[in-house]
């Protein structure tokens, strides 16, 4: 899992972006709300001026705003909201939406046939499948129930009996939203439980017997049989009856010795994780040992990086350079290195060694020895005294998290240049708890690539169950957002149109990052297919997307200008919409076995609340100004 720069932000950094306020979420929210108010006032004035004439129209708008603050907002009654929410809930339930849960169970049953538990990383496969399935099913459901209900009430005129009671527009809107959120919640809980059971059961397996076991001075070393295309090595220490197998495909088993020749192998453990990482800052060094801003670019790394969501600053074109994380490479057999500096390394946090996880890419400039992977080394270093441990060599295991534990006592060179045994917390960690870990590549002319998230310390683990709950919370937040948008559109559009409008918002939200990237390529004049028109021309002409656009003269300028306008407009719209892919990506955390950062969940929660508020305001004014019986 490669994280983007903004994934590392704390909640506070995200909200305010100290030093770069233009990128802050708060500013984005404020601008959005001001924009909505200004646009709302203009639209409201135009409509009421057409209805009542220019002078009277002004008063009508002023009255509507006064009513909102003076009577409707303070007069909103929780009792009525509850009654309306309950009605919306009952309506959805009596329309038998709960069948969707049944549908979900059927999907899981069918998926059981197709998800391969023998794959390299079955936990990731299973978890990402259940989360993605739940996510899209719930979003589709939210879309349907929210967009059709209010228009249907207006169509069937049941709304007449509601609005002729002392019910305020605020209550109708909030009641709907809350009712549907209730329905969604009632659906999500059993879906979550079913998913959990499915994952747990799907990954469960056991090894029936031990194929071979040798006793060596009381220590037993053996191997299990071959089940689901893997087997484990295990060791039982002298005098013990239980031992652990090694990690294969992300899990291990407990092996118990029953008597001399029989062993029992327990269920898999350790495959459902929620690692809590502690990231450091990264500094690259080139082959002569000089500091570099970035590592070596071995090919397509730069092009992959577009803009990430930087709020207003990207929109107004201040963020020029690419803001996506790229892999930087370190050349082997030279002074080139990647240096990670970690904070808060204390004995209390790491009492039994320092767990360090690596996800490193390898790049071969020649074939070399293809039997083994590329070799690298880790060195612990004191950032102040420059005391350094001896390098710990390893063979790079690409495409998975390589978990190691750094010892607390290791040979090395101390601050005075003497070679002795170093105590990590005394000699290598500074007073304020900083420790550097230096990654080098040992094979000459081969390269190792990392990003900031490539190497991290792992001070703790969270429980998988709680992590899955957090992933479901994230889905719940997305659902809430879609419901808010659906209800908003349904206050002034007919059901099907409201649904399409909401769907368009969702799709634009989903493709936000592709739009940012497209804009990045247009900004930086890189040929990557261009905007929609250019892409169409390329499709028809069957041109590759990395070539220059093969159209001459004015046509070329026309196409590019039109594309720029379209892409910039889409960019503005996408910036105004919730960044759904970011929210969907929490599934990736759970699937990769990472604890979903609380900061990220907090950000999503606040963003959801903000969009709900916006949708609520817009809904209120549309409903209030609408002639219900027209």
């Amino acid at each position: 899992m490669t994280l983007q720069p903004d994934d590392f932000w704390s909640f506070y950094e995200w909200l305010l972006r100290p030093g770069a306020f233009l990128e802050s979420a708060l500013l984005q929210g404020i601008v959005l709300i001001i924009l909505a108010i200004v646009l709302g006032l203009i639209v409201a004035y135009v409509i009421s001026a057409a209805r009542y004439g220019p002078g009277e129209g002004f008063y009508a708008v002023a009255r509507a705003i006064r009513d909102f603050f003076v009577s409707d907002l303070p007069g909103t009654s929780p009792g009525r909201i509850y009654a309306l929410a309950r009605l919306a809930f009952k309506e959805a339930i009596r329309r038998k939406v709960l069948f969707v849960i049944g549908l979900f169970v059927v999907i899981l049953l069918l998926a059981g046939w197709y998800l391969n538990p023998e794959s390299d990383d079955p936990a990731r496969l299973y978890i990402s499948f259940v989360l993605t399935a739940t996510n899209y099913l719930i979003l589709a459901l939210a879309l349907f129930i929210s967009a059709f209900s209010l228009p249907q009430d207006i169509e069937s005129r049941t709304i007449y009996t509601i609005v002729t009671k002392p019910v305020r527009a605020t209550e109708i809107v909030l009641g709907r939203m809350l009712g549907f959120i209730g329905v969604g919640t009632v659906m999500l809980v059993p879906m979550g439980l079913a998913s959990y059971i499915f994952v747990k059961r799907g990954l469960d397996h056991t090894h029936q017997e031990v194929v071979e076991a040798e006793e060596d001075n009381g220590r037993i070393i053996g191997e299990t049989d071959f089940v689901r295309r893997h087997s484990h090595q295990f060791t039982i220490e002298p005098g013990e009856t239980q031992g652990l197998t090694d990690f294969v495909r992300g899990h291990r088993h407990v092996v118990t010795r029953v008597d001399d020749a029989t062993f029992t192998v327990g269920p898999p453990t350790g495959h459902l994780r929620a690692r809590i990482p502690s990231y450091g800052s990264i500094q690259f060094y080139d082959r002569s040992g000089e500091k570099e801003d970035a590592g070596i670019d071995v090919g397509a790394e730069r092009l992959a990086g577009g803009y990430s969501n930087l709020g207003i600053s990207r929109l107004i074109g201040v963020a020029r350079e690419t803001r996506k994380m790229e892999h930087g490479y370190v050349e082997g057999g030279t002074l080139g290195a990647a240096e990670f500096t970690f904070d808060d390394v204390t004995e209390a946090r790491y009492p039994n060694g320092i767990p360090v996880d690596m996800s490193i890419r390898a790049y071969r400039s020649y074939k070399g020895d293809i039997e083994t992977g590329i070799r690298g080394s880790l060195t612990m270093r004191n950032p102040d005294t420059k005391a350094e441990s001896n390098p710990i060599a390893f063979i790079v295991d690409e495409y998975q998290v390589d978990e190691r534990t750094l010892p607390l006592e290791i040979g090395g060179t101390d601050a005075n240049g003497e070679t002795r045994t170093l105590q990590v917390f005394d000699d290598l960690v500074t007073e304020d708890g900083r420790l550097q870990i230096v990654l080098r590549c040992l094979d000459r002319s081969q390269y190792l690539g990392v990003t900031k998230s490539g190497i991290y310390l792992r001070p703790a683990e969270s429980s998988f169950e709680w992590n899955l709950t957090k992933a479901y919370l994230s889905i719940w937040l997305q659902m809430t957002m879609v419901i808010a948008f659906g209800v908003m559109f349904s206050t002034f559009l007919s059901g099907p149109v409201a649904m399409v409008a909401t769907a368009v918002c969702v799709l634009l939200g989903f493709s936000a990052e592709s739009i940012y990237d497209t804009r990045h390529y247009i900004d930086s004049n890189v040929s990557r297919g261009g905007g929609p028109i250019e892409s169409l021309v390329r499709l028809v002409k069957q041109d590759a997307m990395t070539t220059e656009l093969d159209v001459e003269g004015v046509a070329n300028t026309l196409i590019k200008s039109a594309d720029a306008i379209i892409v910039y407009t889409m960019d503005a719209v996408a910036t105004a919409l919730p960044n759904l892919p970011k929210m969907v990506r929490t599934a990736e955390y759970a699937a990769s076995g990472f604890d979903i950062f609380n900061a990220i969940l907090g950000r999503h929660a606040v963003a959801t609340l903000g969009y709900c508020l916006l949708a609520f305001l817009i809904s209120y004014f549309f409903l209030k100004s609408r002639e219900i019986a027209a």
Binding site: A83, R94, R157, V163, P166
Partner: protein, 341 residues
């Protein structure tokens, strides 16, 4: 004052609303604060999406509905009756003019606390049962659980749906839905009740019950505005009617007055000999027969209605309203005129 003297001469068991209620209405009209609904120059033009005029549904309507009366809006389909009711409820916004309900603008939500509305058809949630429906509407008035429970019992009793309280409304007959609709309109014990076609879908017994109920509600001091094209209903229950045609007010006044034919005298007599009958016009007094009644005969609502509609179609435009709203109670015409204008 021809009509007044004949009214006195009329025998007591007439079919028209009796003098007791007449007195109640006339007493109420004395006080201008008792105007419950007032429309001022109310107009409604339906426009299409582009703002082009489609229908001029209501043209400069001025009516007043007073506390404690049953006011009927009468007119053929498309005459603007429902539009008027919807404007009063704030379901539509007037193109020009104003509607005041309890001295508040019709667009204010607060007025709804004292209003009960029975829509044209019972637009209710089909997936709820009668009890849930009433409970839901009770909650919309922020009534406490106990209040709701008590009120639901009363209303189910009133509309006779105790036996069907747990059945979903989708299984109800049209008449039963109508009854639930009425019950929800009364859930808040409203002071003003708007009934849009209250008797449609009801069987003859149901119609009778509905009429009795409307009269009973009036006797409890409630104000009722109903619109209908069931002329019988209007004739039987309304104190005053406004007849609309093509969005214009054609006639407004007391039902008893509107149905009186002023230039005809009707004589009922019995015990006359054959000779006397032949010369009845001159000899009725001389023969000293038992005079049952001398009165202006009443026409039926149907005749009145059809006359107005025919006349209106022949000569479009605002008709001279024969009995102006102010002169509604005949015996105190001048009194109320000054009070309410």
């Amino acid at each position: 004052m021809d009509t007044e003297s004949t009214a006195v001469a009329q025998s007591g068991d007439g079919t028209q609303p009796d003098s007791e209620t007449t007195a109640a209405v006339t007493a109420a009209t004395k006080n201008p604060g008792d105007v419950v609904i007032e429309t001022r120059n109310l107009s409604k033009i339906y426009k299409d999406f582009w703002g082009r005029k489609k229908v001029h549904a209501l043209k400069s309507l001025d009516i007043e509905v007073r506390k404690g009366e049953i006011f009927g809006l009468l007119g053929p389909n498309g005459s603007g009756k429902s539009t008027t009711i919807k404007l009063v409820l704030g379901l539509l916004f007037p193109t020009s003019g104003r509607v005041l309900v309890f001295d508040k603008d019709a667009s204010e939500t607060k007025k709804n606390e004292h209003i009960g509305y029975l829509p044209e058809e019972s637009y209710l949630y089909q997936f709820l049962n009668a009890e849930e429906t009433l409970d839901f509407y009770g909650r919309l008035f922020d009534m406490s659980g106990e209040q709701r429970k008590k009120r639901i019992e009363e209303l189910l009793q009133l509309v006779g749906l105790q036996g069907a309280r747990h059945r979903q409304l989708r299984e109800y007959s049209k008449g039963m839905r109508r009854r639930v609709g009425l019950a929800q309109a009364l859930i808040n014990d409203p002071d003003l009740i708007l009934l849009d076609e209250p008797t449609t879908g009801l069987d003859p017994i149901g119609i009778r019950e509905m009429k009795d109920l409307i009269l009973a509600l009036r006797d409890q001091g409630k104000t009722i505005l109903l619109c209908s094209h069931q002329l019988g209903d209007v004739q039987d229950v309304c104190d005053r009617v406004a007849i609309l045609h093509q969005g214009e007010l054609k006639e407004l006044g007391r039902v008893t007055d509107l149905l009186k034919v002023q230039d005809v005298t009707e004589v009922h007599a019995s015990g006359l000999s054959e000779d006397a009958k032949r010369e009845i016009a001159e000899v009725i007094q001389r023969h000293g027969g038992d005079l049952k009644s001398i009165d202006n005969p009443t026409t039926t609502m149907e005749d009145l209605f059809l006359n107005i509609v025919r006349e209106s179609e022949a000569r479009p435009g605002a008709r001279r309203v024969s009995a102006s709203p102010e002169s509604a109670p005949t015996d105190e015409g001048s009194d109320t005129e000054s009070a309410s204008s």
